[in-house]
């Protein structure tokens, strides 16, 4: 399959570990550094929070994780290459994972094991029923109920409008895996909403 996005992606698993140096531009004062960080990175604060909130599924936990992630981002600000948004989200995502591994280990299952979704699957066909009438609450619950590795790509794609390439970088998987996870996410979501609708008796046209 051919994608417009570049396959030769340089994965930056953890920008912090790769760029653990502190080489600020030569004449930058600390206040300039802080201001530059605020200008480049903080505009993506909502995106950071949105991702953390969807991954932890809890406001309090999202606040803690985002605070930690942003301070961490500032410490390793010199490692920023390219766009700030995927860079920040990579750090937030990794902070979420660390947090989940420590606090809710069951939810991180499947995160690091992308090979499974690369297998061809007929089930990921496009048989998805009309989504026009999806109930808002039901849809949100269905997304929250998705396994984390599917929820993550769906949020990054649909709510943050990121490219496959950026998502691959953030989730640290090949672009092919992003595609298959996204397909699976949409299919699981459709099934979940359909099931919820049939239980509650809401009419969802097939």
């Amino acid at each position: 399959m051919t994608l417009a996005a570049d396959f030769a992606l340089q994965h930056e698993t953890d920008p912090a570990s790769l760029h653990d140096t502190d080489s600020a531009p030569p004449h930058e004062t600390l206040s300039e550094r802080k201001r530059r960080f605020e200008q480049l990175v903080l505009p993506h604060f909502d995106a950071a929070y949105n991702l953390a909130r969807w991954l932890t599924r809890n406001d309090q936990d999202a606040r803690d994780v985002v605070q930690e992630a942003v301070l961490r981002a500032y410490r390793f600000f010199d490692g920023l290459r390219g766009e700030a948004k995927p860079w920040l989200l990579t750090i937030v995502r990794n902070s979420c994972l660390t947090w989940l591994a420590a606090n809710r280990p069951a939810e991180t299952v499947g995160f690091e094991d992308g090979a499974v979704e690369l297998l061809p699957s007929d089930e990921d066909g496009p048989e998805i029923q009309a989504a026009r009438n999806f109930d808002r609450r039901m849809l949100n619950e269905a997304i929250a109920g998705l396994p984390a590795q599917f929820r993550e790509v769906l949020i990054l794609r649909e709510l943050e409008d990121l490219s496959y390439k950026d998502i691959a970088r953030i989730a640290d998987v090949p672009i092919g895996t992003v595609m298959s996870r996204l397909a699976r996410a949409r299919r699981l979501l459709a099934e979940s909403v359909r099931n919820a609708s049939s239980i509650s008796g809401t009419q969802v046209p097939k």
Partner: protein
């Protein structure tokens, strides 16, 4: 192009991730296969439904402020400073204007001295330490969501719990009629002594009321520290320090109510 391949490419197609050559090929295939076309339309609707209907969780404004304040001027210093440090700088515009650390510190010092001189009662060192202590206590409790050691809306539960653990018995008022709901109490260590902390809530705002015995009476004083309002007064042998992100006038109302009720309790 096979149907299987077309099926697989649909997601990349609706996401605008397919290269132009494959896009043309897929579109030609779709033109010949109505069922696939329908599937494609459904997929688009699905994507759109998520975009339109899934909750976008924007960050609360106070969180951004808090984090801005917590960003150290010296990255190598990292989290070495206590959490309240970042909160003790003067309000945003001034701080953003320049290298905030030194001007802010001197500004804070000048403000503090002015304030203490105006107050003319307490020793500056002690006063500043108490201010820092109550702020730090409030911030710690908020960050960790550990607001209280005893959770109760009943003053007859909170008061004995505190009295049993302290050398004094703090006045605990039921102010629910005025929309200040008692949610609990905790112990802390302020100004080198154990104190009672009464925790009230109004809407989503948590208000910590620190209480300990003092001799002097003191009129109400208000102070704002980086988004937090602090009200303090001393009456009927007790010092009261109120800390919250609640609006200043509302916090003032609570201080007034507590002052009125402290005599009766």
């Amino acid at each position: 192009m096979t149907n299987d391949e077309a099926n697989r490419l649909l997601h990349a197609y609706i996401d605008g991730e397919l290269d132009p050559a494959k896009t043309l090929e897929l579109e030609a295939h779709l033109a010949d296969h109505p069922s696939l076309r329908a599937a494609c339309g459904q997929l688009r609707e699905m994507s759109e439904a998520v975009r339109l209907k899934a909750d976008y969780h924007g960050a609360p404004a106070w969180l951004e402020e808090r984090i801005r304040a917590a960003i150290p001027a010296d990255p190598k210093a990292g989290p070495a400073r206590p959490a309240w440090w970042g909160w003790l700088r003067p309000a945003g515009s001034l701080a953003a204007a320049a290298d905030w650390l030194r001007p802010a510190a001197s500004f804070a010092a000048v403000a503090l001295v002015t304030w203490v001189v105006a107050l003319g009662v307490m020793r500056p060192g002690e006063d500043e330490r108490i201010t820092q202590d109550v702020l730090a206590s409030h911030v710690r409790a908020t960050l960790g969501s550990r607001y209280y050691d005893v959770a109760s809306s009943d003053q007859h539960t909170v008061k004995p719990w505190l009295s049993a653990r302290l050398a004094f018995s703090p006045p605990v008022a039921d102010l629910s009629a005025s929309d200040f709901d008692l949610v609990g109490g905790r112990l802390d260590y302020i100004g080198a002594q154990p104190v009672a902390v009464l925790v009230y809530k109004r809407r989503q705002h948590v208000i910590d009321v620190f209480v300990w015995p003092v001799e002097a009476q003191k009129a109400e004083q208000t102070l704002t520290r980086d988004g937090f309002n602090i009200e303090r007064f001393a009456k009927n042998g007790m010092a009261f320090w109120l800390v919250s992100d609640l609006a200043r006038n509302e916090l003032n109302d609570l201080a007034r109510l507590l002052a009125e009720r402290s005599a009766a309790l």
